[in-house]
């Protein structure tokens, strides 16, 4: 079969990391190609090369057999490629229709916008996706799932012959996912080539014709979906058995350190659980299920409304992160760039930011003490940086994450909350972070691990709580649970 679009031998380097090294992807007309790989395998970079956001250092892109280069998303769009990004690029204050046709509004004579045509076309797209909304509604009024559907409608509106979908179902409900699948089947009939990126294995086997697997920036295999099963696909993705990737250590957990009873707050409702010393308690669930909100209530960043939290029998109800830290909770944010680190400050200054009270005398920072502490954690966590004075924004994701964890631990917490600790971290550094977490566990630290990555949460945790719509929807023994069970609890099917 002739490929619509093919990328071969693609290489792309960033300072300090080779993101793509001989990557390959073919898109065939009327077929859905799954692009699989772990976080950090290079899928997103590959998509950015394909749509011209990045230029490859080496390799070839051919469209209908002709070599092409894309110097920006506009060029790839003109060539018939559109992409549905994982992060939504929508403007809340504009209507649905305005969002869909932003920058290419249908016009009447004299350059006036043809509003009637714009709303009608947008309504037709929404109807096709089975979204029960008028395209005149404000984007900001829509729940996340429907915003994602609008993003999909926008991609459809380009009449592209190649559509890339990056984790399109992450925020969707089950019926929304089914509508999307129906549209994908229609597009396939029309001869459109689709690239489908998802972590959800069931979806791959439901909707995709072929699979391309990437690992560490390299092409691993291309195969028909019918020739694979879940197990063989996972093996292709990780390149080793799961047990090897997640170095679980068996450790007897100790006494109860934290108890949470009937805790409610913004985005969470009636949460109860216990946490033990030397235990890793996993929290899984879909995006927006309230996991991060729960952690932020515990930490004091989001307001608690009802319920009790006790740390070693003492009630703690922080109303500001400073109180959470003082009470003995460390929270490592899921969003390093957004609210985890001050990227313009040095590695050392970031590491010590939560501990400056202990490192100062009468308000003056003891530079020697600070340096000693930062050096200790840099060595203990193997943070690779040319110097402690290096701006932390210049470090790789994995090293940034290790420094962020160091910041939390320098404040000597009793409970360590890690929110998506391996997001945007390459595979090698991931393993190091897992080993660190296990080391804390063996030292008797009480650890909460929030993760959307099912293999990770299953491979690392002792117990797993699953959340849905702000409530706990399931509790499992991690050594004895399947992805299907977790997913069923996450989407609320039993």
């Amino acid at each position: 079969m002739k490929a619509l679009l093919s990328l071969t031998g693609i290489e792309k380097s960033f300072p300090g990391v080779k993101a793509l090294d001989g990557a390959q992807l073919n898109v065939y007309p009327g077929q859905v190609m799954a692009l699989m790989g772990e976080n950090g395998a290079g899928k997103s970079t590959m998509m950015k090369v394909m749509t011209g956001i990045y230029q490859a250092d080496a390799g070839q892109i051919t469209l209908n057999g002709e070599p092409v280069t894309f110097n920006g998303p506009r060029q790839s769009q003109a060539a018939g490629i559109s992409i549905i990004h994982q992060e939504l690029n929508l403007i809340d204050n504009l209507s649905i229709a305005e969002n869909i046709f932003l920058g290419r509004e249908p016009q009447k004579a004299l350059g006036f916008i043809d509003w009637t045509k714009m709303f009608d076309d947008a309504d037709a797209l929404l109807a096709r996706l089975n979204v029960q909304r008028s395209s005149r509604e404000k984007m900001g009024n829509l729940p996340l799932g429907e915003q994602q559907m609008v993003e999909i409608a926008k991609a459809l509106s380009f009449d592209s012959n190649i559509i890339v979908m990056d984790e399109p179902t992450d925020a969707l409900t089950e019926p929304e996912t089914q509508s999307l699948f129906n549209v994908i089947r229609e597009l396939r009939q029309e001869g459109v080539g689709i690239v489908y990126i998802s972590h959800r294995l069931q979806e791959i086997f439901t909707i995709c014709d072929r699979v391309t697997v990437m690992r560490d920036g390299q092409f691993v295999a291309e195969s028909a979906t019918s020739d694979l099963n879940e197990e063989s696909l996972i093996e292709l993705m990780v390149g080793r058995k799961l047990q090897d990737l997640y170095p679980r250590v068996d450790h007897q957990s100790g006494q109860i350190s934290m108890t949470v009873r009937n805790l409610s707050g913004k985005g969470i409702n009636d949460i109860s659980f216990d946490l033990h010393e030397g235990e890793i308690l996993g929290f899984n669930g879909l995006m927006g299920a309230g996991r991060s909100e729960l952690m932020r209530v515990l930490f004091g960043d989001v307001k608690r409304i009802r319920g009790v939290v006790e740390l070693y029998g003492e009630p703690i109800h922080p109303v500001h992160p400073s109180e959470g830290i003082k009470a003995g909770i460390a929270y490592i944010s899921e969003d390093r760039k957004g609210d985890g680190l001050v990227l313009g400050m040095s590695v050392k200054q970031n590491m010590s930011l939560s501990s400056l009270t202990a490192l100062s005398y009468m308000g003056a920072i003891n530079a020697d003490k600070e340096h000693a502490q930062a050096t200790y954690f840099k060595d203990a966590f193997n943070v690779k940086t040319p110097s402690l004075d290096q701006p932390i924004g210049k470090l790789s994701g994995g090293n940034q994450q290790k420094a962020a964890i160091a910041k939390g631990l320098m404040a000597k917490p009793k409970v360590l909350i890690l929110d998506e600790p391996t997001r945007g971290v390459d595979v090698g550094a991931k393993r190091e972070i897992y080993e660190l977490i296990n080391q804390f566990k063996q030292e008797g630290m009480s650890i909460i691990l929030v993760s959307s990555d099912m293999p990770e949460v299953m491979g690392m945790s002792d117990r797993i709580m699953v959340m849905k719509d702000g409530c706990i929807s399931g509790e499992f023994d991690a050594t004895n649970v399947t992805q299907e069970q977790l997913l069923a609890a996450a989407i609320g099917k039993h």
Binding site: G344, L353, I365
Partner: protein, 323 residues
């Protein structure tokens, strides 16, 4: 071979360092050019004159630097200068001992600044709007209080001692210049050696991350605006002392000069980036430029245009460097 590599490395480091010191280089170029064009320029008398004239703007700009480092702005400093100057003049003319009057005036400036901080942190009003409001209100209060007329410090002994702040000399250097230097050293120490200084940079760099790191962001902001108000009050004392009277319109548009000094000094209005010495250099550039143009008989109308050009150049150079 190795030797060359090391030399190149130090050369590279020098180059990097020089790139950071654009403002300082510009200042030196300005001084050299002005000295060549006019032999009155590079004389002790004129240099001290420039430093004294610069001191008021520089002192306000110190407070403004702190505010801008937190990604804020303070438009009310000129108005605070006027009100505190007027109250200071009243206290002096009432022969309140200076040991009470001076701290009280500074405290008042601090309190007015803290009010800005409260509005911005607790009231969640944007800094630009909050200080625009207080600027207007404080300006109005000053007019009400002075009834639109200057307040003389009087002809008492207290008034004579008070005049020392603005007109006195110590060790061959005008007192306002000493005050400026002390202020810069203190705030330099604050920014580089204390927790508060670190927090200021952290908040400007990433406020959410600062909050999640346990920093009481509200408290730091209130402190920063209070310091800015205190600096404005100190400038108010100097201006009032120099003229032996408080003008109700004193300090008009001084906030803009202070912002200009900070920006020319290389700080980013987006917060988190900037150094206190840069602000000093920025204030000196503006001061030296004004003086040189005066000596060259350039009309004050053209001086404004020249100042605008310098600010624009500084910002463009900065953008290039960070692109």
């Amino acid at each position: 071979m190795n030797q060359t590599v090391t030399n190149n490395l130090t050369g590279l480091k020098m180059f990097e360092w020089l790139k950071q010191q654009k403002a300082l280089i510009a200042l030196l170029v300005l001084i050299v050019v002005a000295s060549l064009l006019n032999d009155q320029f590079f004389t002790t008398g004129n240099l001290m004159n420039i430093l004294r004239q610069t001191s008021v703007n520089a002192i306000i700009a110190v407070g403004m630097t702190l505010v801008i480092l937190t990604a804020g702005i303070d438009l009310s400093v000129g108005a605070i200068l006027a009100l505190t100057g007027a109250l200071g003049a009243s206290m002096v003319s009432a022969e309140l001992p200076l040991i009470v009057a001076l701290p009280l005036t500074l405290l008042l400036g601090g309190a007015l600044g803290a009010m800005n901080g409260l509005l911005i942190s607790k009231g969640k009003v944007q800094a630009f709007i909050a200080t625009l409001v207080t600027m207007t209100a404080i300006r109005g209060l000053t007019m009400v209080y002075t009834e639109g007329r200057p307040i003389s410090t009087g002809f008492t002994d207290t008034a004579d001692s008070f005049a020392f702040i603005g007109t006195g000399w110590m060790a061959g250097v005008p007192v306002p210049v000493w005050l400026m230097l002390i202020t810069f050293v203190l705030i330099w120490a604050l920014l580089t050696h204390t927790r508060l200084g670190r927090y200021i940079y952290a908040i400007g760099g990433n406020e959410s991350a600062a909050r999640l790191s346990g920093i009481n962001v509200d408290r730091v902001k209130i402190a920063v605006y209070a310091l800015s108000g205190t600096m404005a009050a100190l400038a108010g004392l100097i201006v009032t002392s120099r003229l032996s009277s408080a003008q109700p319109t004193a300090g008009t548009s001084y906030e803009l000069d202070a912002i200009a000094a900070v920006v020319v000094g290389g700080a980013s209005l987006a917060g988190g980036r900037g150094f206190i010495w840069g602000t000093l250099v920025g204030a000196l550039i503006i001061g030296f430029l004004n003086n040189a143009l005066n000596l060259l008989d350039v009309s004050s109308y053209y001086q404004m245009i020249a100042k605008a050009g310098v600010i624009l150049l500084a910002v463009l150079a900065d953008r290039k460097a960070n692109a």
